[in-house]
Each structure stands twice: as C-alpha cells, then as structure tokens.
C-alpha cells in the first residue's frame, strides 16, 4: 500500500532526489523511511493529504513501516476475524484501540513527530512502525530499496534514513548534501542491518 501526499507550494528552483538504501549485504532495505530536511533553513510543515491506513490482516500489521506527516489521521482497519488491541506507548503518541473483528476501523490522529511502534496486546507477534515526520519530503523505500523524492528545493539538505532494524543510534542514519539547481540527484545509503527477530513476542 502506498501512502502519498503532495507538497504545498513548490519553490521556483527544485530538484528530485533518488535515494537507494541497501544493507551491507547488498539487499535492498524495503520500507526504509527516507526523509529530507532543509539544512540551514526551515523545513516547511507538511500538509496531510488523503487517508492514511494501516491494515490488520492475517495477524499482522500492513505495512510494516509507514511514514505519515504530522497531523495525519491514520485509519486502523481490521480485516481479521479476530479482535485486535492496537496500542503504542511511544512518546509521540500513546493510544489504545480495541478493534472488533471484520472491517472494524478507527482513526487515530498523530500530531507529534516521532516513531510510533505499534503492537497488539492480544497478539505479541504483531508489530509495525509508524514514522510521523515533520517534512513534506518523506517516503518508504520500494521493493528495490528506492525512494524518489520530487521538488526538493536546491541547496543544502539533510537526508535521513530510518528503519527499525537499522543498526545505528535511533535506528537512523543521515547525510547532508548540496542539491544542484536542477536535475536529478541520487544518493546511496549502505547501512548495517539487524536480523529481524524470529518470533517477536514469544521470547526465547
């Protein structure tokens, strides 16, 4: 599922940034959240557009990682025939949703930036991450580990990559680059990754 939102006003001069994220083993890091902040100048607030959804299907959250702009409401939709008890203790957003079976859904407003791990109190193995970003330029990497961000104003920008398994402080790496006035810009991130826990929630 693809979440999309559009930038508000675009400045006169802008560039496209193509970021590729791979693990040190060469595998694309699917779902890695790539976000761009303007360096040395304020980053404009993003404006949520449309509906953001996180589905519960087959006792799993989908998608595993999502990125939403601050102020977005995310709809949690239960497709399973069982109840789910979605929660998060994250500082960015604490909430609990008790979702009945079959198509029950509820929306939650995420009004602070930060990573919000999502769990289900009934099913320990269910886990998902929602990155609430305070920039208009953020996206999760596709199956080939690519992210294309358009219309980023030229100048110095900081490109951040976040993934729950990324082995780095805050599970995040960032790099500041100069964008040319025009044309496409591409960046490549190669980062060490943790192995995903085999059966999160069952312990050892």
């Amino acid at each position: 599922m693809v979440l999309a939102w559009s930038a508000v006003a675009s400045p006169a001069i802008a560039a496209d940034i193509d970021v590729q994220v791979r693990g040190t083993d060469g595998a694309p890091v699917v779902g890695a959240v790539v976000s761009v902040h303007l360096a040395g100048r304020p980053t404009p607030r993003p404006h949520p557009v449309g509906t953001y959804m996180i589905d519960q299907q087959n006792i799993q959250f989908h998608p595993f990682v999502s990125a939403v702009p601050v102020g977005a409401s995310v709809m949690f939709m239960n497709h399973d025939p069982v109840h789910h008890h979605v929660y998060s203790f994250s500082p960015a957003k604490k909430f609990e949703l008790k979702l009945g079976s079959r198509q029950q859904n509820q929306s939650v407003l995420f009004d602070k930036p930060g990573v919000v791990p999502l769990g289900c109190n009934i099913h320990d193995r269910m886990i998902a991450y929602l990155d609430v970003v305070d920039t208009p330029w953020a996206k999760t990497a596709d199956a080939s580990g690519h992210v294309l961000l358009r219309d980023v104003p030229a100048g110095a920008v900081t490109i951040s990559v976040w993934h729950p398994y990324l082995r780095a402080p805050g599970n995040s790496v960032s790099r500041t680059v100069m964008l040319n006035e025009a044309g496409a810009h591409s960046e490549r991130f190669v980062t060490p990754m943790r192995a995903p826990p085999h059966d999160p929630g069952s312990g050892y």
């Binding site: 929660y87 203790f89 791990p117 769990g119 109190n121 886990i127 929630g201 312990g203 050892y204």
Partner: protein, 781 residues
C-alpha cells in the same frame, strides 16, 4: 649350619616358616591388592556413572528452573500494564511490580534493565553496574546462563520486554550460593558435593560466591583440563572423582562450571567391611600358615637337627645314632647315617687296634705300651705309688728261629703271648718286637708282689710247647725297673729295665733281676765309649794289628788277619769286645770297617806277593749298602791284587736276608776277592752254607782246636772238617793254635794254615813286616 646368605637363619625351621609365611603374605597381599584395585575401579566406575547421572539431573533441573523462571519473567514482560509502566518509565509501578513478582516466584533478585542499560529493581551499586553491563550482552541473544552480579555468580534468566519493540529485559537471578548447592546435593543419590567455579583471567578457577576463593590448585588444574568436555575423572592429588560441568554463561561472562565432587573415601566406605574382612582373613590365614609351617618344618627339621647333632657327635669320635622314624628320604638318610656311624666307629676301633696291637700275638704293641706306661707314670707323678716295668727276653730265641725257621719262631711267640695273657690276667703285657715282652704293674710299696709277678711270668712260659713235631723248652730272663726310683719317664725306665735284663742274662738264664744303680754306671760307661768312638777314627786313635797265618805247606807266613785296636787317649787300649758291639749297634762299624779295609789293603801292598791280608767284615756292614764299593775303592786306591784280600765273614750274616747276602758274596768274589768263613762249626750254621757258596777257606774255630790234646774225639771233628774242606776245594785255617801238639795233629790232618799264639800274637804293622822276613822253625810235637 650356614644357609642362605641374605638372611642367614641359624635354623632350617625358621627359614622354612619365614619362607612360607612370606609366600602366603605375598599371595594375600596380591589378592588384597587386586581386590582393592577392583573395588576402587568398581566404585570409581559407579561414582562416575553417578556423577554423569547427577550431571544429567542437574542439566534437567537447570533447564527446568530456567524455563520456569523464563515463563515467570515472560509473563511479567508481556503484562500490558507492566509494559505500559516500563515504556512510560513509571518507575514506582515497575518496582512494585517487581516486588510483587519476587514474592510470587520466591526470588531474591528480579530487576529490569532496558536497552539503554538503565536498571530498575536493584539497590546494590555493584550489582547495578553488573546489571547495566548485562544489557548489551542480553541484546546479543543469550538470555539465560551464569552471570556475575556484585561478585556473586548468579543464574540469570531474562525475558525481553516488547513494547512492542524491545525496550528492555526482565531479569530473574538466583544466587548460585551454598544454599543452592546444598539443595542440588540433596537431589543426588550419593553424597557428592557441588560447587560453582568461575574462570579467572589467569586461567585459575575461583569459587563463584561472594568470597571468590581461589580453588585448590589440584581442583583448579582439574577444572582447567576437563571443563570443556564434561567427563568425570579423578582429581589428581585430591582423592576424589569429579565432574566439571560447563554452565551456559551470559555472553561475554567468564566461563563457569559446576563441579560435582565425590571423595573416593566415601566411595570406598561401603567396601570397608569387605576390606576389614580381607585383612582379618589374611592375618588369621597368615597365623595359621606360620603355625602349620612351623609344625611341618619341625617334622622335617627335627630329624635333620638330630642328624646334625649326631654328625657332630660322630665328628668328635663318639658312636652316634638317630632314631629312624619315617619311611621317606629322611628316614633312609637316618638309617644310612646309623649304618655309616657304626661302620666308622667299627673301622676306627679296628684301626686303633691295629695301631696299638702287635699283629703277631695280638698283645699291645710298642706304641700302646708307651702310652700305657706314660699314663701310669703320670698317675705316679700325681698321686704317688710306684710302677714296675718288667722287661722279658726269651733265652736263645734266635736259635729257634735259626734252626726251626721263622714260622716256628712266630708260633712260639704266639704261644708265649697266650700263656702270659692267660697266666697274668689283668696285668698289662705288651710285645715290643722280636722276643721282647714287657709287663707293667702299678703297686704300693711292697716289691714282693713284683717278685711274685716275675716268677709267675717265668713259670708261665716254662713247660714244653708243642709246635708241629717239635717240643720246645723255653726259658726267659726278666729285668725289672721300678718308677719313679729307676726312671721317671718311659725311656729311662725302659733303659733301666733292659740293663737289669742284661744282668739277668749274665747271671745265667731263666731268672730275673731288679735294676741296681751300678748297672746304670755300666751303661754310662758304654755311652761314653760310644761318644768317644765317634771321634776315634778322626783322631787317629784306631790302629790295625796283624796276626800272621802260617802256611803249613809253604812253611812261611801266608797272610795276616787284620785286627782292630783302639788306643783311647785316657783309658789306654780298649779291648775290641768292649767297643766292637757298640760300633755295631750304633752303625759306626760301617765307617770304621771301611777304614779297616782301606788300611789293610794299603798295608798289604808293603808285603811280598804271597802274603794275603784278611779282614773281618761284620754282618752290619753286610746289611748296609756300599760294601762292594768300599772294597773296590780300597783295591783301586792301594793297587793290591784282589786275590790278596780275604774277607772273613761269620755265619751270622746268613741269619737274615740270605739271598741278598749271597748275592753280595758273589759280587765280592766277582771282584776277585777271597771269601773265608770264620768261626766255622760254632753257632747254628748248617752245612748247607757250604753248598750254597764256594768259600775259599774255612777257619776252624778255636773251640775245636783247643781240646785237640785233651779230648780224644776232638781230632776226629777237626779231621772231618779238613777233609770236608778239601773235598769242596777249600783251604782251612785252624785258629787258636797254642800248643805244638795241636800243630802236629793239624799238620797230620792236612790243615792249610794255622793261626795262634804258638806262632805269634797280633802285632803292629811294623813288626808284621819283620815277621815275614824272619825265618821260623815251628816245632810240631
């Protein structure tokens, strides 16, 4: 007895006992050793199995405890409220929840450490530090195992707190302390000891409790060598079997082992009664063996000891015998020994008998006599009293031997001996040799007893003795000496007795005489003659006189008989009858005789050719070797023609060894020397001598010549002798012619020559030469 060098037992018995006891003891020790080895091996195997089993039990317990704790920790870690409290950093709630949990599970230590290393639920600063450090290790994935908390080894189990991502761990820790170990020990079927050790950086091991004692070096070495493979083994030097079981540790923590120890002493405890039983049986058995061996050895060695003692006795010359108590080798040995012993004693008796008996008569011999007399003299010397020695000599025994032969003489001696033994009863009688008997009798002081004894002895041998067809009447003379007066030792006493015997003989035969001192003086004189005679020759005191033999046919001196004279420097002229016997007895006659032959030959060379010289040769000279050599030497030295030398012998030279005598006579004859038979007609000689050897001359003894005028029959004998000599081609010389009447008869009967005072007495050499020159006119009546 000398037995084995290393021990040198004096008794075979001890040796046997020690040998068998030693063998038994060695056997017992071997059995006990093997048994002990088997027991030890067995118990080791058992203990090892037990240790392995306990190790397995421990593993299971450990796992069980781990999963229980993990379950409890997991339960808490997943509690929504608890997670909410942790995630929202609600410290109070979390701590209260931990306290609640400790109570519920019964744990002393339960805490939370988050991924940032923050610890909740601990108060001890050191424990908090260790716990904080734990977070990174837990993050690496090992969430159960041994870890160090504040210096004390703990078993920890951690459960992750997923909220929903990993935010930290609930950690349960149980101290691996004494209490825990004792609990573990109680689970075991055998009384083993359990302890946890942790490896130090230097490779040694220390106990995992708060003391952190460094393990005993042997234990430390054992763990270091065995902890990785976890097989039970002996702890060298600690007398224990142990199993070092590696414990899972939280990653990065030092290695830890659970050491299960089992002292061998305890393992062997169940076998203690068996060991005691073996020891008791061994000691008892040893006692029995020693006792049995001692007894058996006695049965073997008693006969040997008896043999040993008996052999010692036998060696000392006593008759010894041992009881024959068995049929075996020892029994046979004893029997053989007894036979040997009695044989030896028997043989010794016989040897003694032979050594101390006279073979001919069976009487004690000279050696025996010497011993006996010596013994008696010693008694006299010590206790007083007197001993009589009777020396008896048969009268004319020589005659018996000469006329009747030695076998008859021997038989006579045997009969005499038998008579003496019979008659004298317990008186000591011995035969010293020849016809010489001695009797020894101790007495108090009355010599009449000795008179009586002498008479009895003389009477005993009187009376006719029938030997073959002969009837012999024997008489004897006895000389008696009495100790200590007549001599205090054997030789002196015997000499005195012999002197007395000599006197008895002189006094007429068939009688006895006691020794008297003058006899001894005579003997002294004899001895001094003997001494002086030894020097006489060298000192030139000897001289030859010559008595002419007048040849009747040629009417002139036909020869001289050389006669020895001794001019003693002090005594003057010593008569030959005094010194010739002594010279013969001492053997000096050989030396003197040689000189006589030399001197006579030398002298004869001064005389005309027809004059011979006659030299008397003693039977002693005949017995000694070298006579023919002396004669040859004398002839060569003087250059005298051999037929001018005439050797005069008497019949006595035939008394012994007549074969060799004849041979010597032939040798002399071979030299060309003439041989004359002196003193013919006296003695016991028979005519067979004349047949046996062709004498050149017979000298008719003076005992036939002297009675010629007095007794009518005498002339007949002389006539017969001369005719006999003529018939055999021998010359005759009549000795002792002193009367012209005698000369006339001799002349008439045809004697070759005469010798006697009628013509001349013996004269010195100088006068002899003049005698030859003188013209004589002999007047025959």
């Amino acid at each position: 007895m000398q037995f084995g060098r290393p021990f040198g037992f004096r008794q075979l018995r001890t040796r046997l006992a020690v040998l068998y006891a030693g063998l038994f003891a060695a056997g017992m020790l071997l059995v006990a050793g093997l048994l002990y080895g088997a027991v030890v091996h067995n118990s080791k195997v058992q203990v090892r199995q037990e240790l392995i089993a306990n190790g397995t039990v421990f593993d299971r317990l450990w796992d069980q405890q781990t999963s229980q704790l993990r379950a409890a920790a997991g339960l808490l870690a997943r509690d929504f409220g608890f997670r909410a409290a942790v995630a929202t950093n609600d410290r109070n709630t979390v701590e209260s929840a931990l306290i609640n949990l400790r109570r519920r599970v019964g744990l002393r230590t339960a805490f939370i450490v988050d991924i940032g290393g923050n610890v909740i639920g601990l108060t001890d600063q050191r424990q908090m530090q260790d716990a904080s450090a734990l977070s990174t290790k837990l993050d690496e994935g090992v969430t159960a195992g041994v870890a160090n908390l504040g210096g004390q080894a703990h078993k920890i189990v951690a459960a992750p707190i997923m909220a929903p991502a990993l935010t930290g761990w609930v950690v349960f820790a149980t101290e691996l302390d004494q209490r825990e170990m004792r609990a573990l020990e109680r689970m075991s079927a055998i009384p083993l000891t359990a302890a946890v050790y942790m490896r130090r950086s230097d490779g040694s091991w220390s106990s995992a409790d708060a003391d952190a004692r460094i393990a005993d070096p042997s234990v430390s070495r054992f763990i270091e060598a065995n902890w990785s493979h976890g097989q039970p083994d002996d702890i060298k030097g600690a007398g224990a079997i142990a199993l070092a079981k590696p414990l899972p540790v939280v990653a990065g923590a030092p290695p830890a082992v659970l050491l299960l120890q089992y002292p061998m002493r305890l393992a062997l405890n169940p076998y203690r009664p068996l060991e005691i039983a073996i020891a008791v049986i061994g000691i008892f058995g040893l006692g029995v063996v020693v006792l049995a061996t001692w007894r058996m050895a006695r049965s073997i060695t008693l006969p040997i000891s008896l043999l040993d003692a008996a052999a010692g006795k036998l060696a000392d010359g006593q008759l010894a015998s041992v009881p024959v108590s068995s049929q075996d080798e020892l029994g046979r040995l004893a029997a053989t020994f007894n036979r040997m012993s009695s044989d030896i004693v028997e043989r010794e008796k016989r040897i003694t008998h032979l050594a101390f008996s006279d073979l001919l008569t069976g009487l004690p011999n000279r050696a025996n006599f010497n011993q006996h007399l010596d013994h008696q003299l010693r008694i006299v010397e010590r206790r007083g009293g007197r001993v009589a020695l009777l020396c008896m000599d048969l009268d004319d025994f020589k005659g018996v031997n000469d006329t009747l032969g030695h076998p008859t003489g021997d038989e006579l001696l045997r009969r005499i001996a038998a008579r003496l033994s019979e008659e004298l009863g317990d008186i000591f009688v011995a035969r010293l040799g020849g016809d010489e008997f001695v009797m020894v009798k101790a007495f108090a002081d009355d010599t009449t007893a000795i008179d009586d004894l002498a008479r009895r002895a003389l009477t005993a041998i009187e009376g006719p003795i029938h030997i073959n067809e002969h009837v012999l009447e024997t008489k004897a003379s006895i000389g008696i000496a009495i100790a200590p007066a007549d001599g205090s030792n054997n030789d002196a006493l015997l000499r005195s007795a012999e002197l007395a015997l000599y006197k008895a003989k002189e006094a007429g035969r068939g009688t006895y005489r006691f020794f008297e001192e003058p006899m001894n003086a005579l003997a002294q004189a004899r001895r001094s003659i003997e001494v002086d005679l030894r020097h006489a020759l060298a000192n030139g005191e000897l001289e030859l006189h010559y008595q002419p033999l007048f040849h009747l046919g040629a009417d002139r001196v036909g020869g001289f008989e050389a006669l020895l004279r001794w001019n003693h420097p002090k005594r003057g002229s010593v008569p030959p009858v005094e010194f010739i016997p002594i010279a013969e007895e001492t053997g000096l006659i050989v030396q003197i005789g040689a000189w006589v032959i030399q001197e006579a030959c030398r002298q004869a060379t001064q005389w005309p050719e027809h004059v011979r010289v006659a030299v008397n040769v003693s039977s002693v000279q005949f017995r000694r070797p070298g006579l023919s050599h002396v004669v040859l030497q004398a002839l060569q030295n003087s250059g005298l023609k051999p037929d001018r030398l005439e050797i005069e012998i008497t019949e006595s030279i035939f008394l012994e060894r007549s074969d060799s005598t004849l041979q010597l006579l032939h040798t002399l004859r071979g030299l060309g020397v003439r041989i004359a038979l002196d003193d013919f007609g006296t003695g016991y000689s028979s005519l067979s001598y004349l047949q046996g050897f062709p004498f050149d001359k017979l000298k008719i003894d003076r005992s036939f010549v002297m009675p010629l005028l007095a007794r009518p029959g005498a002339a007949a004998i002389v006539k017969a002798i001369i005719e006999l000599a003529d018939a055999l081609g021998m010359e005759t010389t009549a000795e002792g012619v002193e009367e012209p009447g005698q000369l006339a008869i001799l002349k008439r009967h045809g004697a070759t020559s005469i010798q006697g005072f009628l013509f001349s007495k013996p004269v010195p050499a100088l006068e002899a030469s003049q005698l030859i020159k003188s013209k004589f006119k002999l007047h025959a009546a």
